[in-house]
């Protein structure tokens, strides 16, 4: 009898679990390619938010969320489109957290997300061109546009008293967009860009590029590239030939491999990447603990991107992208109760009771314009071979 009761109780639980929906969310990031050292912790960040929501059991009456990873490669638009197509058609995902690099994000948006009506929230695509891309209200990003980063870079360099820089960028949407916005901002502020030269990723030899940069001269070399790719080669060659001693790094360059590869050789260099000192960051890193590196660039943004999708679903009372896309801006911005990392269960409950939330998250998310982050930056400098926080802006 006891056994029978237990068995029927177990069946009841199983049945209960089965009746609540199980949905899938896509995580499309460049697990191979130029930023492969950043993406594992980004994916972990996003999956953490999904796990938190699933375990709370409060999303739409106990719906659970399963992440599905796919590889955007960061550079190959065709491969990224195919991967995203697979997520939508074969896996039936209800939303996409990604993609990472600006070029592939644009490709997935126009080729997969738009035709299929899938919501995309990118944690790291920063090209200014994405602000004006046609998106039917489906595309958001928790990273700020590079138009803003160009201005912040200018402020950092001007405060350091640097008026003349050489500029090199990786030859793609991200590098070109950032280089252009920086050059415009820097020249408007009275600085001089002596040369703006592109470099290709995946080459071994950068002596010609560094030769040209050195001849143009400048107090500092701005490297708008990738830490695991051409950016590394450029810095190596510039240090070896004594062309430049100090550098300025935008977001794509700041990673653990920068410290590993160069150590104190780049002491005195500066940089910035999206980041904030809002209490959300501390809560996020406390929550993450040793599971993965919570301070790696774009990792908190990834958590926030996934959380926003799930909160918007709750607010709309539906998991269909067409229904919840209009709610993303509502849950991200005021008015409402402020929500920090680890408080997703609370947010889901407030939303379920018809209340409003203002999702702050790990990066002080504030969506402006067509759905992109207003932008907080962490300014860093390299000291004793370590990347050290100067301040937040």
């Amino acid at each position: 009898m006891k056994k029978l009761l237990l068995a029927s109780a177990a069946t009841a639980i199983m049945a209960g679990a089965a009746s609540a929906e199980e949905i899938k969310l896509g995580i499309i990031l460049g697990f191979t390619g130029p930023i492969e050292s950043l993406t594992p912790s980004m994916a972990d960040g996003a999956e953490l938010a999904m796990k938190e929501v699933s375990e709370s059991g409060k999303l739409l009456g106990g719906t659970t969320v399963t992440p599905v990873r796919a590889d955007s490669t960061c550079v190959d638009a065709a491969a990224a489109t195919a991967a995203a197509e697979r997520l939508v058609t074969a896996d039936g995902v209800k939303g996409i957290m990604g993609a990472d690099c600006s070029g592939v994000t644009g490709a997935i948006l126009s080729n997969v997300a738009l035709p299929n009506g899938i919501v995309m929230i990118s944690p790291s695509a920063t090209s200014p061109a994405l602000s004006t891309a046609e998106d039917n209200g489906l595309f958001f990003r928790t990273a700020p546009s590079d138009a803003r980063q160009g201005v912040v870079m200018t402020e950092v360099l001007m405060e350091e008293g640097i008026k003349e820089v050489a500029l090199t960028y990786t030859n793609n949407d991200y590098g070109k967009g950032l280089a252009d916005s920086f050059q415009a901002a820097f020249e408007a502020a009275g600085g001089t860009v002596t040369i703006s030269a592109a470099h290709e990723d995946g080459k071994a030899d950068y002596s010609a590029e560094v030769g040209a940069l050195a001849a143009a001269g400048g107090e500092r070399l701005v490297v708008a590239g990738y830490a695991d790719q051409g950016g590394k080669g450029i810095i190596r060659a510039a240090i070896d030939t004594g062309a430049f001693d100090t550098f300025h790094f935008p977001d794509g360059m700041i990673s653990a491999s920068l410290e590993e590869n160069f150590g104190d050789e780049i002491d005195g260099s500066t940089g910035q990447h999206p980041g904030t000192d809002s209490p959300g960051v501390a809560k996020f890193s406390e929550m993450v603990g040793d599971m993965f590196d919570s301070t790696s660039p774009f990792t908190p943004e990834s958590y926030d991107a996934a959380a926003l999708i799930l909160l918007a679903m709750q607010a709309a009372g539906s998991v269909e992208p067409g229904d919840y896309k209009a709610k993303v801006m509502d849950v991200a911005n005021a008015p409402g109760e402020k929500i920090y990392p680890g408080e997703l269960a609370k947010a889901l409950e407030i939303l379920a009771n018809g209340g409003e939330v203002d999702y702050v998250g790990a990066t002080a998310v504030e969506l402006i314009g067509g759905g992109e982050s207003a932008g907080n930056y962490r300014q860093i400098h390299v000291e004793g071979g370590k990347i050290t926080t100067t301040k937040y802006r």
């Binding site: 592109a198 995946g202 080459k203 010609a208 030769g211 040209a212 001849a215 080669g233 004594g242």
Partner: protein
């Protein structure tokens, strides 16, 4: 003083990198040209043969490093080089047995062999990535510089610095030794002479009793040694990454063709021509001219002929010009 500064700046950013790069290209092009001259096809798998040889060198270097064996100021990779050459020889001989010999016995046309070598290229490419992964691997150790910028400035008191990396020095020295050995072998030894005879006229060589299979085998052995040396030097000087060797194939072929396919001397000249043109044409001459010219004439622009984006285009323009006016290359190779 200004003249010295100009010279130093030019050496630091143009001459030294170009000489090192040129030596690496020349060694690669020698391998391509030998295959073309003796086996009579363009070996597209050459870049990946280099990658395979360099990969073994990387693995052996790591093993030596873990046992604490080193060469002091010189990179341990030099010690690993003989092992890598042996490994690479084994690979090319196996490939020849399993793939090329079949087509040789069929007397297949060169164009078929070219396509076959492409297949071999993809297989080797996959093999290397499978074993060591697609990422950058660093295996350079020992002293980084023969002379560093800081020391040079302190020594001479000049405004411009000059750096010579140990790897650049080694590249040039090893390349010179290799080329000297190769020419001695081709011109003085019996096997070398039979290889040249086979290359000049296959039928006549067969009639005079030269064993073709032996010639083919020696060619592959030499090519494996050259490819591995070039691959290791390139990896030491820059970085080891499988995909980079695949891309290196284009400048290597450009060097071999500019110099004249099948002509070893041409391959060396071609390597340096391609290397120097890539670096000089995209170099911004502002600094050098600024030192040389009187102040009033100092250029305000960059004085750059082409942006560095067009670096690779340069080798192909040279290739086109040479092929238009001297279809057999500068040093009279075989016509393609």
């Amino acid at each position: 003083m200004d003249l010295l500064n100009a010279l130093v700046a030019l050496s630091n950013f143009v001459i030294i990198p170009a000489v090192a790069y040129g030596s690496q290209l020349a060694l690669g092009a020698l391998g391509v040209t030998l295959i073309y001259g003796i086996l009579r096809f363009s070996n597209f798998a050459h870049g990946d043969t280099m990658a395979f040889g360099a990969m073994i060198a990387v693995l052996v270097t790591w093993w030596f490093q873990s046992m604490g064996i080193g060469l002091g100021p010189l990179p341990t990779a030099l010690l690993a080089l003989p092992f890598a050459i042996l490994g690479c020889m084994a690979l090319v001989l196996i490939t020849d047995r399993m793939v090329y010999r079949f087509y040789r016995e069929q007397k297949a046309k060169p164009v078929i062999l070219v396509i076959v070598s492409m297949g071999v290229m993809f297989i080797m490419n996959g093999l290397v990535r499978f074993i060591i992964g697609p990422n950058d691997q660093s295996f350079a150790d020992g002293e980084r510089f023969i002379i560093s910028v800081r020391d040079f400035k302190a020594m001479t008191g000049l405004k411009e610095g000059l750096a010579i990396k140990t790897t650049q020095g080694i590249t040039v020295v090893v390349a010179v030794i290799c080329v000297a050995l190769l020419f001695w072998f081709l011109n003085k030894t019996r096997t070398g002479k039979s290889m040249r005879a086979y290359s000049d006229n296959e039928d006549l060589a067969l009639l005079s009793g030269i064993n073709p299979e032996r010639v083919v085998m020696y060619t592959w052995l030499i090519v494996a040694a050259l490819a591995t040396t070039a691959g290791v030097l390139y990896g030491l000087d820059k970085t080891f990454k499988p995909f980079v060797y695949f891309q290196l194939l284009l400048p290597i072929f450009a060097s071999a063709i500019v110099g004249g396919l099948g002509n070893p001397l041409g391959a060396i000249a071609g390597g340096f021509i391609i290397a120097f043109s890539e670096v000089t044409i995209t170099y911004a001459w502002k600094k050098v001219l600024g030192y040389l010219m009187p102040e009033s004439l100092e250029p305000s622009g960059l004085v750059q002929l082409l942006s560095t984006d067009y670096k690779f285009a340069v080798s192909f323009v040279i290739l086109l010009i040479v092929l238009l006016f001297k279809p057999t290359g500068l040093f009279k190779g075989k016509s393609v």
